[in-house]
Symmetry: C2
């Protein structure tokens, strides 16, 4: 079933992290649906923000280069908006363990700044929060449903939980309208390609395109949910417009669970270059590894009619094509 | 059964929030058990810190006036310690909703500062974290066990969860030794008496002593667990010395659940002055009210042999006596 996104025609939409991977794909989609789009991004050097990401819509979006840690700027940006897609974040698990205070500043204080801005300047607007599978931490059975609670293994994961809790608090105390989408492993065009600290599937695509060898930690047998960015964008659009989404947290997931090593094989085969090898887990990764993770997406399917559509092979093919064509904009 | 606290003889102990209610009672007990005690407190004006709290042991404790937001000072204070009682916090539910960023600074960033200090300067020491019943938020059945998850209703509660999660993360990733004690409603001598934003039982004692009328919001029928501070101190001492406590979170609770209004009646009767009246819930309190809360304390009873001993009537009598005697040190 195709969804009708005409709701967004003429809507004033703010996307924090709007020059990054998810945010920019969403910006492009929203422009297509006739929304008036502002993207807000700090363009921090190691993060996913990239002006090239909004190249196709650059004359039709407002670009605000600012940080969510800047209370005044975020307050001004939120004023008058109908929908806020709240995606800006520090997103590296590993960096959250070496720079935990930075993670608190961005993923806790930054979230408070956004919520205070909405409360003060746009209390009727809808907020869609980019949650994460990381919130479940180590969990003893899969697939994971939204009511399950594991133990987070890194500061990033703890703070994604905190950020979502803040939204629930502002929702119950001040009536803000929000939805949380707990993203599993998203991949596709417009992801940063500078390092493999997050979005490892995309990073592997770069390695394969460059003819390099992908390192698979341990046996690579852990199960994962990979979902193509267009599917994620669709979920954000639904969450930003449907009343059934209000006050809820939903899992996103892929069309079917995939073994990590099979994802790697698909990349190498699709790219027709590069290779892979098994290596032992590095200590910093092993310390925060959570084992199998697959999401039960029944809740969002029932409530919003969302289902992931893109098969992994086809999604990887499109991603490889994108980076073969535009790689020079991302390789820096 | 009396516990043997000779473990603490000669131990170097740091208490953050050590001039406050729980911290200072703990400091006095630890000095009695022969520990070498340092108290670390910012003495923030509206908080519980009070130099008079350590009057009985003032020549036998090191007093460090500093803030947990000060990374350098906390790092220096932690070095060489055997046990850290991690109690400093912003503790007002209501203030966390008007100053949410302050709550993040103290209860998130401050916790990271403490954990980084332990990791870098005293990785072998034990940490006991002052958790809270607030972590359970709104919960649909009582008594509450440690594996239950409600939804926090204010930023303070969300950040107490975050703080505890950080401890678990540092424990699993870096091997730090910690225990969390989720305190329910503690009362007794040395609590601040300047306002009723937290520790409302104690605040009511002041009102009764001053012959004033206590306002009971709504029907006052909600169930609560009140525990006397000496019982809480005992739990902290056990958690700081027993291996069975490592890596665990434990509920604390009172000897029996009490209706809020019955607590008020006991205070008025014990003080022999003051009175009470029923008034509607103010909006800011109603927004964060969680309903009945009583804790199942079976886990700490089985693991550490802890049980609350002080009956509410006797505890209130002792507290009234303390403030009748020393009230002038707390009324400011």
């Amino acid at each position: 079933m195709e969804h009708d996104f005409s709701y967004y025609r003429g809507k004033r939409v703010l996307i924090t992290g709007g020059l990054g991977f998810l945010g920019s794909n969403l910006a492009c989609a929203l422009v297509g649906h006739g929304a008036s789009v502002s993207v807000y991004d700090a363009l921090l050097p190691l993060y996913g923000g990239n002006m090239f990401n909004v190249e196709p819509v650059k004359d039709r979006v407002e670009v605000i280069i600012a940080d969510i840690r800047d209370r005044a700027r975020i307050g001004k940006a939120v004023a008058g908006k109908d929908v806020v897609f709240n995606i800006a974040a520090q997103t590296s698990h590993v960096d959250s363990m070496t720079e935990p205070l930075l993670d608190v500043e961005m993923n806790c204080a930054g979230q408070i700044n956004l919520l205070e801005a909405v409360r003060n300047s746009a209390p009727e607007c809808r907020i869609v929060y980019a949650g994460s599978r990381a919130q479940y931490g180590k969990i003893d059975r899969v697939p994971v449903t939204e009511d399950m609670h594991g133990r987070p293994t890194d500061i990033y994961s703890a703070n994604k939980i905190a950020g979502e809790m803040y939204h629930f608090v502002y929702s119950s105390a001040f009536g803000l309208k929000f939805t949380s989408l707990r993203i599993s492993n998203a991949y596709g065009p417009r992801h940063q390609m500078k390092h493999g600290k997050y979005g490892v599937l995309n990073w592997f695509i770069r390695l394969a395109i460059e003819g390099k060898k992908i390192k698979v930690f341990g046996t690579g047998a852990q199960m994962r949910d990979y979902h193509y960015v267009d599917d994620v964008t669709g979920a954000f659009l639904l969450a930003g417009m449907k009343d059934e989404a209000l006050g809820e947290a939903f899992n996103l997931g892929g069309p079917e669970p995939v073994r990590f090593v099979d994802m790697v094989k698909t990349i190498v085969e699709t790219a027709g270059s590069g290779g892979y090898e098994f290596v032992p887990w590095p200590a910093d990764r092993k310390a925060i590894e959570v084992g199998d993770f697959t999401a039960d997406t029944g809740k969002i399917s029932r409530a919003l009619g969302w289902r992931p559509r893109m098969e992994l092979g086809e999604g990887i093919r499109r991603t490889v094509d994108f980076y073969r064509r535009f790689g020079k904009e991302y390789w820096r």
